[in-house]
């Protein structure tokens, strides 16, 4: 087990290094010179050269990468000219909001997805199974900004049940916070509920065919016991892996959802940064989100080897 954890940690470390390289290169491949872009067209050649030197742009690629990595390790992600603030501060304010919403969305999609998946597997090809599979397909296909507008139109503008948009911290006003989070969380969860349902259904169908399930049936166990005690545990294994891979989908979903509902999270920060060409913020966002996803995947894999000892031998 220790061996497995160590191996998985080294893999993650390699991924993080490659990721940092990708994030650094993103800004490097940008056409044009950042120094002249910052100073504008009125700057003299000396001013540009001066700024290039200050920004370290006159150094070779690997040295700049090294310096940048060194700064990142010391918590310095650069300066956002759009907000005139340290990027690390910007992210520290916004990342918790996105993580909070993502965790709620994960919780929702796990509960609903697994429940629907079990139902569809047991009542395979029933009317509700088919309806659910079409609904799941719609859930994956519908653009979340469209579903969001539809939700705002129906629940906020017409029925006046929920606020149109906005964000309140749950520590300031809990009821308001929940009300405002309902639609964003559901929207972020919808694509994953669909995937989760499909995965649980097919995993369950696979497990149900196995010999030990037939044994359980032939022992005369009740349906509930066979399904929940015997079949469910093994069919959840692929679902757990899926959850690790889905994390990036939740965070990606937050980009659109935070924009629609005007939530000050990472997603909206990155959209604003991309829109205003504040590339260092985009770079930092790519790095931080990628790192969070990598680390979460590692934790999922380790816990998963702990749940199912067969895994670590592969």
């Amino acid at each position: 087990m220790l061996n497995y954890i160590l191996r998985r940690m080294i893999q993650t470390l390699v991924l993080l290094v490659v990721l940092s390289f990708i994030a650094f290169s993103l800004v490097e491949i940008m056409p044009g010179d950042p120094a002249s872009a910052i100073l504008g067209s009125t700057a003299t050649k000396e001013q540009i050269l001066q700024l290039r030197k200050e920004m370290g742009l006159d150094l070779p690629f690997y040295e700049r990468y090294g310096n940048w990595l060194w700064d990142v390790f010391h918590g310095d992600l650069g300066w956002s000219y759009m907000y005139s603030e340290k990027i690390s501060d910007l992210i520290a304010q916004r990342l918790p909001i996105t993580m909070y919403l993502s965790l709620l969305a994960i919780l929702l999609s796990v509960i609903l997805g697994i429940a629907a998946g079990i139902y569809c597997a047991i009542k395979r090809n029933s009317f509700l199974d088919q309806i659910l599979s079409v609904t799941a397909n719609i859930g994956v296909s519908a653009p979340s900004f469209w579903l969001g507008l539809l939700g705002i139109y129906v629940f906020a503008l017409k029925l006046h049940l929920l606020p149109v948009q906005g964000w309140t911290s749950p520590f300031d006003d809990f009821v308001m916070s929940i009300k405002q989070a309902v639609m964003p969380v559901i929207l972020m969860a919808i694509p994953s509920i669909a995937v989760m349902t499909r995965q649980t259904r097919s995993a369950m169908l696979e497990v149900i065919r196995q010999d030990y399930i037939r044994t359980a049936w032939s022992k005369g166990l009740a349906e509930q016991v066979v399904i929940y005690r015997h079949a469910l545990k093994n069919s959840l294994i692929p679902v757990v892996t899926l959850l690790g891979m889905q994390l990036r989908i939740f965070v990606g979903g937050s980009v659109l959802v935070e924009t629609i509902f005007n939530i000050p999270g990472m997603g909206r920060l990155l959209v604003a940064a991309a829109f205003n060409k504040d590339f260092l913020v985009v770079q930092a966002g790519v790095l931080i989100i990628g790192a969070v996803v990598c680390l979460a995947n590692m934790l999922v894999d380790i816990s998963y080897a702990w749940i199912d000892p067969r895994i670590k031998y592969h």
Binding site: L19, I22, N137, P143, F145, R248, V255, A274, V282, N297
Partner: protein, 295 residues
């Protein structure tokens, strides 16, 4: 039992792969509906100038924000442009982005996957670690970052979508190639002295293609969704171009008074993406040898 008897017991004889595919696909009503919508999409995209009742860019401020009427079937937007004509022209951008974006992603991914799967060792490690890191990023974020750096516009969006969606193909292709390489016919070809290039493109690629094809079909919808999302965020295809995503975002201010203006283009996105997903799913099930005979 003779060979003949064995044969007659299995699947009915003389059915080509294509006939089988067609039969399996056409038996499902969702696939048929999906194909029908895709057909309409291709038709409207091809003949947009003939079908559209008005010029999608023709402004007429006097008749702005009007509801559906006999002269404007779906009403007009805030600049008096005909909504139906704009939706019809929008199908061109969506179809183009879907096909070109996915082809680009597929081509890049297939080449990287072939190289990584065929040459194990150093090349595999370099390519796959790179792919794995890209896969830890949300596709939308990756595409957003690339298009922010390249700038908006159709061409840059296509490049961004191509790069952003490439890792999935590379991953899949690499796995396929590693599995296929174990087959005897690859060993046989190699012993004839075939070059690596020939083995990769003449033998491994055709055999891995059905699996890739399923993902390509399913991702057509995904590419359209990504472009729509970018255009909605204001980073993709910029107004006044009639892209469905930017139509939703520019009209959402009028959600209370003219909800159809932003909801209809969104519905068009959903219908098209859903159709590609349904057809892709149908294709996956039809090509899956494990499900053969059960469908």
């Amino acid at each position: 039992m003779s060979v003949k008897a064995l044969k007659s017991e299995g699947t009915p004889p003389h059915i080509t792969q294509f006939t089988y595919l067609r039969r399996v696909m056409m038996r499902r009503w969702v696939v048929v509906i999906g194909l029908f919508i895709i057909f309409i999409l291709i038709f409207t995209a091809a003949f947009a100038p003939l079908i559209a009742p008005y010029d999608p860019y023709q402004q007429n401020l006097k008749s702005a924000l009007k509801g559906p009427s006999s002269s404007h079937l779906l009403g007009t937007d805030e600049l008096g442009r005909d909504l139906l004509s704009r939706i019809i022209y929008g199908s061109r951008i969506s179809l183009l982005v879907g096909i070109v974006g996915v082809s680009l992603a597929g081509a890049l991914g297939i080449i990287l996957g072939l190289l990584a799967g065929y040459y194990e060792g150093c090349i595999n490690i370099i390519i796959m670690r790179f792919i794995d890191s890209l896969l830890s990023l949300p596709p939308l974020l990756l595409i957003l970052a690339i298009s922010a750096i390249l700038g908006g516009g159709l061409l840059n969006i296509l490049v961004a979508i191509g790069i952003g969606m490439m890792p999935t193909y590379a991953r899949l292709m690499c796995g396929q190639v590693i599995a296929l390489k174990q087959n005897d016919y690859i060993t046989a070809t190699r012993s004839f002295g075939s070059s690596g290039f020939r083995i990769m493109f003449m033998h491994l690629l055709p055999n891995a293609f059905p699996t890739i094809l399923v993902l390509l079909t399913q991702n057509l919808g995904f590419a359209i969704l990504m472009e729509a999302s970018l255009s909605y965020l204001g980073i993709g295809i910029l107004p006044p171009a009639a892209a469905w995503g930017s139509m939703v975002s520019s009209s959402q201010r009028f959600l209370l008074t003219n909800p159809m203006l932003s909801l209809l283009p969104g519905f068009a996105i959903m219908a098209v993406v859903l159709s590609f997903n349904m057809v892709g799913d149908g294709l996956r099930d039809a090509l899956d040898p494990r499900l053969r005979g059960t469908l």
